[in-house]
Amino acid sequence: MGLFTNLLGYKVRRRYDFAKSRKDSRLNAGYNYDDNLAGSEFIGRSLSGHIQRNETIQHFLIFVDDILKNLLKATRHLKNYKNYTVKPDDKQTR
């Protein structure tokens, strides 16, 4: 059993959502940390490279990075929550 087997399930994207927003060209959508930054890059930029030499730390930072991004996405989540016209996990909300 691999180290990440069934561990990254929360990161799986809904494929059918792509089909629904494939042609969307929307402004004011906010910065897409998920797609524009590699895993652990967000926290990695703020963290000493020395620390990141440890492989275990690197693996751990992947999950910390996701936590930080989720904190950033908390406002979007709250906005979506009160707006029933969009999906709860709408990515376009800033």
């Binding site: 691999g2 990440f4 087997t5 069934n6 990254l8 399930g9 799986v12 994207r13 809904r14 494929r15 059918y16 979506n80 929550y81 009160k82 029933y84 016209t85 709860p88």
Partner: protein
Amino acid sequence: MYENLRFFKGLEYDLNFEKDILGIYQGSIYLPEVSEGLYETINLFILEECVLFGDPIVNFPTAETSDAATFTFKWEETNKVDSTSIIMYDIDNTGNIPVVKELKTQSFDLFDYSNVAAHTDGVKYLTTQNNTAIQINLALNSIIPGPHVRNLYVYHNASGVETLIAKIEIYGEVVAEDERLKVLLSNFGATLSEGDFMLFKDHDISEMSPDYILLNRKRKELLLELHNIKPFVGTYKAVLNAIDFFGYDKITLKEYWLNIDSSIKNFGKLFAVPVPHSSVRGEAIRKKLVFKLPSNTMKKTSKFSLVYRLNEPNGTFDEWDIPNVTETFDYTPEEVIIKLYGLKSKLQKEYLPLQAKIIDITAEGDYFDQRNLNIWHNQNPIGFFSEGHDVRFKVIPEHRDLFIEDLSMVLKPSLNQNNDAGNYNLFLNLGIGNEDNLTTANRTELKTVISKFYETYHDGELHSYNPNIPIGCPILLDGTDSFDDIWDEALFTWEDAEDPNGSLLITWNDWWKAWVYEIEWVITSKERGYNQTYRGAIDDYLILPLILPYADSYSVEMRTYDLFGHRSHYRMNDVIDIKLKNLELYGIYKWLENQSWDNKKLSWNKSGGYWNSPQDNKTTIEENIATLYLTLDRANYVHLEEDQGVRFSTVRRYMDIYSPNGFSETTGPYQWDASTFRWADSKNISWNFMRVGADLTSSFKINDIQQGDTLVIKHTHPVTGKISTGQHVISNTTPTTVNDVNGWTQIMDELNTSTDSVISKFNFNAIFEDNDDDNINDVFRFILAVGREYSSTYDFSEVSITKVNAASNSNVTGETHVEHFNPTWDDTRVFTDYAEVERSTHITISTDISKFPGSKNAKWTITNITNPEITDIYYNNMWLTYIFKEPGYYSIQLEAEDTYGNKNLVKRNMLKVK
């Protein structure tokens, strides 16, 4: 290997898997989104493209070697997220009920290689075909929302070697409840709980868990629609919007209205009327309502009905032009129970006013049947068809009173009564109801006779007196009015009356008779029982002569019989009213005026009476009150004393061989012993008046006469006084004895045949006596010579027999001269209205001037009006002769009947006895 495998997603489409560089088929299968807790399934079919007899086919995957080969399906674990919520399953039929069973792996034996004729360039050429497929059932069921991925690997196993053939990624997404919507709805005060999922029309009732995809959509819809429902709760609008919200766009909401109009038959009945804007069909129904709502005759009941459709017309028509309908499978019976009853309770609970109830759920369907309205255009000729005829008739003579007539009087203007060859006697003695026995010619003649009788009705007096003579009322029944059609009224032209050959079908006779061939007359009297029916040919009976016997009221019915079998009739009640002619009375009595010539009013030439008692009789001969030949000649009505009594009797002569003049007379009504009057009462009565009897003719007795003797009679002319002498010499042999009856008869006959002008003034009657009462004359008594008339012209002044010799015993005795006792112009008074007479005046009352024909059975009643103690006096004879002794006013009543028993009566207060 296995170059030509084909992968299909169920029956939907080819998955178009392709081999990678390693020769392994790769591809993904995407499952539709599914709500958490629900199953989503697909079928994966695997087939192989082969060639059978030169044609490409798809076949069960076929082994590529003669070794037994299988395809094995396994889940492959990857380092990514492998969802165990995606499974393979199969139906396990081993138990009593089929059970879905999850399979970890599956293996399928391939189609045997022996069926392969050739295997060239990966293409298998088969000899037989197996057109089934390898079927893999895949399902996704999870309570974890989000994407689910699992990899299915297909291995080929043959001869213990396992080779990977295909990698198939199965992808599906599970949708969870959007809790935001639930909270938002709660915030607005609306609820759409998970338990309501069954109410939605789109929901599959076979699902046992909520379909959150549907529920999320509906909650969002409700959020958008809530402003149309929430503020209007309790109204039609809220209910209708709620129904629409749950997806029931074809359901019609109907409201029950109660008919409260007690004047019509539907009183108290409920009418289900679609509420406004309930549905398209409901609006169509509302527009056709004969009554408008709200109304004062329909009352709201707050009861509703949910109505769904069983079918809908689909716009096509069958061969009978009947609209086709398509069953609408909106609801199975289970759905009706689960969904509609759920909807009903939901609506009642949240959307209807508290008192309103949905009391039923109804299914409606349109079912068409053909009702033909066939219209024919028949060109019928317009014409009149009337059965029977308008029967009319009249009775001739019209507009006059009808009387029973003396038939001889009826016939005399036309027929000679002495002509036996004529029909006088036939008509006279026709009798009652025998008109049918007459011939057509007789009837025609009788019509003429009757017509002429009424034309000449006033030409004669029509006096009739003889009893038991033929009588009757002659009339004509004329039905001509029934056939008064004229050509101008005809509804056809002259040409129509011809047949195709030009023959005239309708002649004048056919036309006016209107196909009537017989006529029937029914004559019924009201009281006398006359009931006669006469039926015969129309020509003969159209005008029917009748002689009706009774004075009565007659109803007449005329019936016509035509060639179509119709009998038409018309009855006129009491159309004939026949009366009796009045009985007329008059009286005569002898009255001696006590006058002298000096007091006379009339001149010498006009006076009557006698020298010593001149009379002033102002009644002229022309007035003809009394009948000279009947009443004034008492010889016509000798009244026997034995019949009615002395006071009614008249003097009657009877033969008396012991009398000097050969006869004697009865006393008559005046008898001294019965006289009660006073001497003073008789001052106007002469001695001669006392002899109430007929005139006395001249007579004498020839007691004996011989052959050779000459009978000499001298006659003095009553006016000139000239004396003529008649003589006759007896030439017959002298009878031997008085018993020579034959000899004396010859003598009598000789005298009667004398042509001498004086001798022939007398009748000679030989008088014999029957001594032994054997009705054979035995003894000759005398010959009685009697003047032939009651007149001085037939009197003698002297009579004698000149004897042929002295031995002759001839002698004449008993000379009696003419004496007049009948009422005469000189001594008689006639009254018709009223008379005042002295007591003991003998009065004769007669009715012989009446025009009441056939009068008989007279019954006289004399009533003293002023003295009721004097009993009524009855008398039966046509002439009443009576001595009125008692003073007072008298009424005279005469009741008589005619030949047929028609009773007539007259009563007159016509006499005062002083």
